[in-house]
Amino acid sequence: MTMGAIAYDTAHLIGATVLMMGFGLLYQRRMTAVIRTYSLQAMALAAAAAWQAYIQDAPHLYATAAIALLFKGIAVPAALQWLVRKLGIHRTVETALGIGPTMMAGVGLVALSIVLVLPVTENATALTRESIALAMSVVLLGLLMMITRRNAVTQVVGFMALENGLLLGAVGAKGMPLVVEISIAFSVLVAMTLFGIFFFRIRERFDSLDLAYLETYRGERQ
């Protein structure tokens, strides 16, 4: 096997690990397990960025990897764990849809993203095609997570996973400027802080983080 093939296969494997963690998020039901899985996904993302930095010979991607590892792999999960403990919801298990149907929908979304990516990238190399397909699947799985969960914290984790997918697509593409990545990373941090404040506000108002209460409040459901 040549060096290029190994570089290609490893990038592919790390991308698939990020995707598997996306499925792990859908499979987990307990709050702390969801946050731990999210942390693992961010670490896999950091590995993907570092590997791309190595094979593309692009030092600024190492900075991306470091940001992903420190902020998303450690800081954000730690903050979420603290929030969950503070709010006393670390034992909550609730999903709007069962695990089985959710996973089915997840595989359907992966197939959908592949079907979408294949015709668009006919002229691209197999590596680009696969990394785009993988990144798009991670984004769609994040969206699915936001749809199927009823708790505000797990919905936020879904949003963060979606952003991981965006970054996975971005590090695979050549010539992504560092400034864009840093600004994305910081806006996620800001969003995280805002979400934290919102959690407390929602709970103060409804005594729960179940967003079904919000629907009745808005008059959508009696």
Binding site: L13, M20, G100, A126, E130
Partner: protein, 315 residues
Amino acid sequence: MTALLWGIIHTWLVVGFAPLTVGMVRLTKARLQGRRGASPLQPYRDLWRLLQKESVVADSASWLFRSAPYIVFVSVWLAATILPTVTTDMVMTPAADLIALVALLGVTRFFTALAGLDVGTSFGGLGASREMFIASLAEPAMLMVIFSLSLLAHTTSPAQLVTFVLSGHVGLEVSVGLALGALLMVAIAENGRIPIDNPSTHLELTMVHEAMVLEYSGRHLALMEAAAMVRLLLFLSLITCVFAPWGIAGPGDGPLFLLLGLAAWSAKVLTLAVFLAIFETMVAKMRIFRIADFLGGALLLALLAIIFLYVSEAV
């Protein structure tokens, strides 16, 4: 000629080696739990003791109950002889493929469940119904794993699969990793290991396999236990054959290569047995209705493996 010879040797090797594998799992688990544990040779003594004992059969049992242990043991044994563990050049290997192996395991399960129902005790029926519930989820996942591997290698024959992987045409494919994950999950379910079923319990609420063989004693029980041991060895060998076939001798290799193959196989299987024990110590048993999620996950992993084969244009 050598194919015939190795076929015969391998047939007995599988039966001879299976209790040691189980003994190894039990010993490792005992050590991890802070007990001294019995010697890895204990399963041989257990089987021997059971064979000496009189076998008591319930009054309500039919011929099915008596014949089921023999059918079960022979079909698992037959399935185990298909796998090219030491050398690909064996007389049984070209006779059947991996789909036939799944069918033979299906026969085993069918007769175990029937025997559980036959006596008419409530535990037997409970065990049989749970076993069928698990089987209906595990079998599609297993077949899907086999389909993904055969799409990659263009064959369902285990010997040709081994040759294909050894030839180095397949790199670090994502699909192979996904298929491995799915097969590991299926193997845990099919052997009734910990998150699915606990092989060392007689607690009424949770047992599956034990509930079905509860009425057996003496030589019938010995056969049922031996069948379970051979099945564990079969799954461990299947995983090593397909995903880590290094060391398996090919046709025309000398006796030195065959000895090397034997050493590599036993080392790989025992290593996997130790890992299985570590995994079983780490996880807690699942509630029965979580099994559907677990095995659904295995099916979806295998499905993803097939999808990714098409993306990476490996097909």
